[in-house]
Every structure is written in structure tokens, then in C-alpha cells.
């Protein structure tokens, strides 16, 4: 029996092919089969998506699934369900698990677990995420060696001695709060270093969670020289600043690494989205238990969950706010992430994987962490009212999640 799903009457946007039109989309056996003004059902299950936006599935390049090791925070099952509920059809699981995922055996063990709805075959990149590489020599070797397998090095840029003991961004706010700060320069130093190393080696470098103006600038200059470098930014760095640590009175859901930065950094990230210095938006979904967060600020774990808020936040605060177009957002969440890691998705061209995200631009909702499908609730966005949300997430031609379904 064949799997046939017809999405009827939606506005299809596929930035990779400069497509924005009202079209029907037919998915057959896990692939995009047909995209036309009117496609006949011919026995397919039909979903009416009129009034909704149909786009290639969103891909999160930066997710912490915590399995193995910290299944109390998240599992592959809960994390991927949260991803689907957030409109993501694929996530890239960062390897800072316990044990660290730096061996094929562990990768296989992770994959052999119920990867279920979201299929992701094989390691697509190597990363030092959460454990920045102090040695330039090691980074050089990683960039060189990865070339042989066309792997991208995903780079957590943080000069460890400057960030030592820090729990937020260095600056006037940290000074007022009496918290030790990590200077933005500690990130930019490593971005500059690793862009130069990528230039030296010809390796493929992807800067994870860029958070400062100087980092964006370093990437922009690297690109202008032809260096193979790309960068991602997170919704929280695009929307929040370190001022929130103060106004929230040390709420530990404002603590993450890299930390929330200053307003000029936030503005530079948005400018990067607009001019292409920043290639994509990734969540850095970092689930933590209540016990890891309900402590003094210094003692709290770094990170916030992001899978179930990212898309709605971007639709409301970036697209509806007029900072970027809807097409650009889809590029940032789908086309570019796929291209950066050479993944098969990111397009609705016939023959592409049937991974589709459907958006409802008019749905208003309030972020309610109690209803997250993720195991964890650590978010600073609880209570935010947002317009626009994922409506339907289709993975491999099957509905993985649908609003109200």
C-alpha cells in the first residue's frame, strides 16, 4: 500500500526555488511527488490547508536531546515530539551527551533508539559544543580531517579563560547585579581564530549560536574573503538582552551560554539575518530539570528549551515586526540549514523528502510551558502572546504533529 497525502489549497513558499504561489502538494511514499495549481486526490488522504503556508520542513541545526545520560531532562522521543510540535521536521543532536557522542558506536546507539518520526541518518557534522576547543592546533586538525568526509565543524566559540566563572554577559548589567560576566570578546576571539583556521585549511566551519556584533562581523569578513564559514543565531539572542536578567530579578531561565548580550549585539544579529552574514536560525534547545534551575543564579545550569517556541517567536517578532520577510525566515529555518550540512531536505522539489512544515500566520496563542511536549520547561518566554504558529508537521510524508490533532 502506498502512502499518499495531499495538502490542498495552501500558499506554498519554497525559497530555494523562488516559489511563492497557491498550489496543491502531493506527497507519495515519503517523497514530494507533485506540486501544481490543482492536483487530483486519486485516493490520497486530503488535508485542507487553505489559508495556511506550506514550506519545506524546518531543520534545527542545534538541539540537545540529552540521551544518553540525562534522560531526566529529555529523551530522543520527547525531544523529537517537541521538535515536531514546534514545526521542525529534523534536528541535529549535539554530541555533548553522557558519554560524549564522539564514537560511531554511540551514534549508532542513539540512532537505534526510537528515532521514530524524525528520521536523521548518520552524523552530519562534528562539534565541540558545550566544550570549546582551547587548542588552535586541535581545531586546525579537526577542520583538516573533516574535509576528507565532507563533514562540517560546528564550532562553539568561547575562549575558556575569559569566560571562567561567568554566569552572564559582561557589562553594566552584570556589574549592577554583582554577577561575573563573560565578555563578548571571548566569543569573537574564537570566531576570528577559527575563521582564519578555516581559511588556512579550506575546511567547512559553522559558527554555533553567534551572539555578538563582533562575531557577526568576523563571519561577514570571512565570507567576503571566500572562507567556507556559516553562522547560526538563536531566537533568544535575536529577541532578548542581558537587561532581562535584571528585570526578571535573577530568573535562572535567563541563564544560557552564550549569555544574553547587549542591545547593539542583538541589533547586529538581526542585521546579519537581513544581509546574509547569519545563515540560519537554530534553537540551542537545552532542556534542564527544575532542580538544575531552581537554585541560586550562579549555581543554575546554562540553557533554555527552544524547539516549541522558536518558530512562533520568529513569525511574530521578526516577520510580523517587519524585520525580515516570511520567505527569508523559511530560508533561515529550512533552505539554509539543509544546505549548510548538505542534508536532503530544505526544498519541495519533486523527489525531495516529504518533510513539510505548515504555518498558520493568524493563530494567536500564549506560550504555556506547562503544555510543552518537551520534558523540560526552562524558558524565559512563558506568558508571551504570539501571532503565528506551526499548524502541521509532516515527516517522511506522514503527519508527525498537527495543531489540535
Amino acid at each position: 500500500m502506498t502512502d499518499r497525502l495531499l495538502l490542498k489549497g495552501g500558499r506554498v513558499i519554497d525559497p530555494g526555488r523562488s516559489l511563492d504561489a497557491d498550489l496543491d502538494l502531493l506527497l507519495v511514499d515519503g517523497e514530494v511527488a507533485e506540486l501544481d495549481t490543482r492536483v487530483a486526490a486519486r485516493g490520497a488522504e486530503v488535508i485542507d490547508v487553505s489559508g495556511l503556508v506550506v514550506c519545506p520542513g524546518f531543520i534545527d541545526l542545534h538541539t540537545h536531546l540529552r540521551q544518553p545520560g540525562r534522560e531526566d531532562k529529555e529523551t530522543i522521543a520527547t525531544g523529537t515530539r517537541a521538535a515536531a510540535a514546534g514545526g521542525f521536521t529534523a534536528v541535529c543532536a549535539m554530541p555533548n551527551t553522557e558519554p560524549v557522542n564522539d564514537q560511531a558506536g554511540i551514534t549508532r546507539a542513539i540512532l537505534e533508539a526510537e528515532y521514530g518520526d524524525l528520521r536523521e541518518a548518520g552524523c552530519v557534522a562534528v562539534s565541540d559544543d558545550g566544550r570549546p576547543m582551547a587548542s588552535a592546533r586541535m581545531m586546525r586538525r579537526a577542520l583538516e580531517y573533516a574535509k576528507a568526509f565532507d563533514l562540517t565543524v560546528i564550532d562553539h566559540c568561547e575562549e575558556p579563560t575569559l569566560a571562567q566563572g561567568a554566569s552572564m554577559n559582561e557589562g553594566p548589567v552584570a556589574t549592577m547585579l554583582g554577577l561575573r560576566g563573560a565578555p563578548g570578546a571571548g566569543e569573537a576571539i574564537m570566531v576570528e581564530r577559527d575563521v582564519l583556521l578555516a581559511e588556512l585549511t579550506g575546511g567547512k566551519l559553522h559558527i554555533a549560536h553567534a551572539s555578538t556584533a563582533a562575531s557577526v562581523d568576523a563571519v561577514r569578513r570571512g565570507k567576503a574573503r571566500g572562507v567556507r564559514v556559516t553562522a547560526e543565531a538563536t531566537p533568544h539572542h535575536l529577541l532578548l538582552t542581558d537587561e532581562l536578567v535584571r528585570t526578571s530579578e535573577y530568573d535562572t531561565s535567563t541563564k544560557m551560554n552564550p549569555p544574553l548580550r547587549a542591545e547593539e549585539d542583538r541589533q547586529a544579529l538581526i542585521q546579519g539575518l537581513r544581509d546574509g552574514a547569519v545563515d540560519c536560525i537554530a534553537t540551542d534547545h537545552a532542556p534542564h530539570t527544575v532542580d538544575d534551575k531552581k537554585v541560586e543564579y550562579d549555581a543554575a545550569a546554562f540553557g533554555i528549551v527552544g524547539l516549541e517556541t522558536a518558530v512562533a517567536l520568529c513569525l511574530d517578532r521578526l516577520v510580523a515586526a517587519g524585520l525580515i520577510s516570511l520567505g527569508r525566515l523559511i530560508e533561515l529555518l529550512s533552505t539554509r540549514p539543509a544546505a549548510i550540512l548538505g542534508l536532503p531536505g530544505g526544498t519541495l522539489a519533486p523527489g525531495a523528502p516529504a518533510d513539510v512544515t505548515v504555518l498558520d500566520l493568524s493563530r494567536r496563542h500564549k506560550v504555556d510551558p506547562a503544555r510543552f511536549l518537551s520534558k523540560s520547561r526552562n524558558t524565559p518566554f512563558g506568558g508571551w502572546t504570539l501571532k503565528g504558529a506551526p499548524a502541521l508537521t509532516i515527516v517522511g510524508g506522514r503527519v508527525a504533529w498537527g495543531h489540535g490533532r
Binding site: M176, E249, Y250, E296, Y297
Partner: protein, 311 residues
């Protein structure tokens, strides 16, 4: 009905207070201070109220000061220090506080090395919380007792030129004093070696790296403690050089106003941030600060616990 003079449930810092709230605490302290000169130093103002002093950091002055203030006002109090509590067994701050709360205290006085620890307790506990020093954030009762000392001697705070000199980076005393003095209309100047000046502090008060410039024409000089371990941390090369470049000597005191007041929150490092002749000299009000500390803490307890009977 008029608004209460001190409308807050907690005392977490000086930053959220308005000038009128600060004046209310100082006026109350002034009124209660007289009790300390009586032959029988006890009034029933807080009879039946329970206060827990929860100290996660070593403290002689602050803890003794709170304890005396509690006893003078007839509150029932107990003090818990890290060395004698179950903290050693790895209990979290929240669990410790919740357990203490189960005994229904009216107030918890907290000293903790983590900035924001008092805010954390205030969020999760029912008791009134008094911040007795949290990390490098604030030490509000210290700033209040400094202000009381200045006001007694100078008759006002407004328009005073106050130099704060020393390890501003790690100092909660400096931060609370900057907030308080600025709110009360004093002109503050901060002085430290660049390595001990916190980034962005100039948004709150002017700064200088030259102590002579800081103390020149000052009505008051507040010296901050220099901890020996800062030297090994690479903040400055030697204690000798620190004293020579940033220490308060008799010679430097002469640059200030003739009736300058010298303050220090203690404990002092004689011969490092302050010369002994200055600490023990005619301008020093360091021991007045200690006495006023009790009065200010009595005022805070009284205002927060809503003392039923007038002292």
C-alpha cells in the same frame, strides 16, 4: 490613608528603594538609637516575632549586629552558620530555607556568596527576607548605616562629595553605597585600579584610577577591603604597590576637606588599603559605623515586621 513610609515586604537591595524610603529607615534608626543608651536596652516592639539569621559566609560584625538588634527589640532569634548547619551535608539553599520556614519564622536574614540569593529566597519563601550581603551584588544595611553615620556628622547627605576607594569589582558595599548616595543627592566618585573596576560601572558614577583625584575636596572617604587573594589573581602585582598607589595615607587625607570623614566597612587590612594612623586618626568614624549598624538593623526589623508598640 497615607502610604506607608517603607512600603516593601523585603529589603533585598538599595536599588529598588526611593529616597523617601531610605529617609524613613534612617529616621527610624535615629529614633531607635536612643534605646541603645538606656541602662536597660530592651523594648518589646517585636515580642512574639521570630527571626532566623542564615549566614552562609563568615561574618563577625554583621551577624552580631543583627543579633543585638533582634534582642533589643525582643524578637526571638536564632542564628545558623554554614559550619554548624546541614549545608555541609549538601542541602540546597532552598531546602534549608523551606525547612526553616516550616518553623514559621517571620523573617530570614540571609548572607550568601551568590549574587541574587536573597531575591531567590524572596521568590520561593513566605517570610520577609533581609539581604545581609549577597555575593558582589548588594549589602543594603551597610549602606544604610554608612548613610546614618554621614548624616549624623554632616547633617545631610545631599551635595556631599563621597569617594569610594578600593576593590569596587568584588564589593557589594560599593554598589549599595553608590545606589544610596546617588539617590540621596550626594556626588560619588569611585576609585580603583582598572582591574578592580567593574565594567560599565561608569553608568552609575564617575570613576578615576588616581586616588588623589578621588579624595580631593571629599567630604567623606569610604575605603574598601582588599583581599589578599586578589594579588594572586593577577589584579595587581604586590600589596606594597597597592598601598603606595591606592592606599589611604595621612598625606592623602590632607587633600580632602578639613572635616573629612573616613569610613571602612571592615574588616580592615592595616597598611594595605588604609594606614593605621588614618584608621585610628581624628577623622575616622569607623567605630561609629558599628554602633549605627545596630540602630539601622533595628529600624529595618521594626519597619518590616511592623512593630506593634512604639519604642
Amino acid at each position: 490613608m497615607t502610604a506607608p513610609a517603607y512600603p516593601h515586604r523585603h529589603l533585598l537591595g538599595i536599588e529598588p528603594l526611593e529616597a523617601s524610603h531610605i529617609t524613613a529607615v534612617l529616621d527610624t534608626a535615629e529614633a531607635l538609637r536612643e534605646v541603645l543608651d538606656r541602662p536597660i536596652k530592651k523594648v518589646p516592639a517585636l515580642r512574639g516575632k521570630t527571626v532566623v539569621n542564615l549566614f552562609y559566609e563568615a561574618s563577625t560584625r554583621t551577624r552580631a549586629s543583627f543579633e543585638i538588634a533582634e534582642k533589643v527589640l525582643s524578637a526571638d532569634s536564632l542564628s545558623i552558620a554554614t559550619s554548624t548547619s546541614s549545608v555541609q551535608k549538601g542541602e540546597t539553599l532552598l531546602d534549608t530555607a523551606k525547612n526553616l520556614e516550616a518553623m514559621n519564622p517571620d523573617m530570614i536574614v540571609l548572607r550568601h556568596s551568590a549574587s541574587g540569593a536573597a531575591h531567590f529566597l524572596a521568590r520561593h519563601c513566605r517570610s520577609a527576607i533581609v539581604n545581609a550581603g549577597d555575593g558582589a551584588h548588594e549589602h543594603p544595611t551597610q549602606a544604610l548605616l554608612d548613610a546614618l553615620t554621614l548624616r549624623q556628622r554632616k547633617g545631610r547627605l545631599e551635595g556631599l562629595r563621597v569617594a569610594i576607594v578600593g576593590d569596587v569589582l568584588h564589593s557589594r558595599v560599593a554598589r549599595s553605597n553608590v545606589w544610596l548616595l546617588t539617590k540621596m543627592g550626594a556626588r560619588v566618585i569611585l576609585c580603583a585600579p582598572p582591574t578592580l573596576m567593574p565594567p560599565g560601572i561608569e553608568t552609575l558614577a564617575p570613576t578615576t584610577y588616581r586616588i588623589d583625584e578621588a579624595v580631593e575636596g571629599a567630604d567623606a572617604i569610604m575605603m574598601l577591603r582588599i583581599q589578599q587573594e586578589r594579588m594572586t589573581g593577577g589584579y595587581f602585582p604586590t600589596l606594597r604597590e597597592y598601598h603606595a598607589r591606592f592606599g589611604l595615607t595621612e598625606e592623602r587625607v590632607r587633600l580632602a576637606k578639613k572635616d573629612v570623614l573616613i569610613l571602612h566597612p571592615g574588616p580592615m587590612n592595616r597598611g594595605v588599603e588604609i594606614a593605621s594612623e588614618v584608621a585610628d586618626g581624628p577623622y575616622s568614624v569607623i567605630l561609629d559605623q558599628v554602633t549605627n549598624g545596630v540602630a539601622v538593623r533595628m529600624a529595618v526589623l521594626y519597619l518590616l515586621l511592623g512593630g506593634a508598640e512604639a519604642a
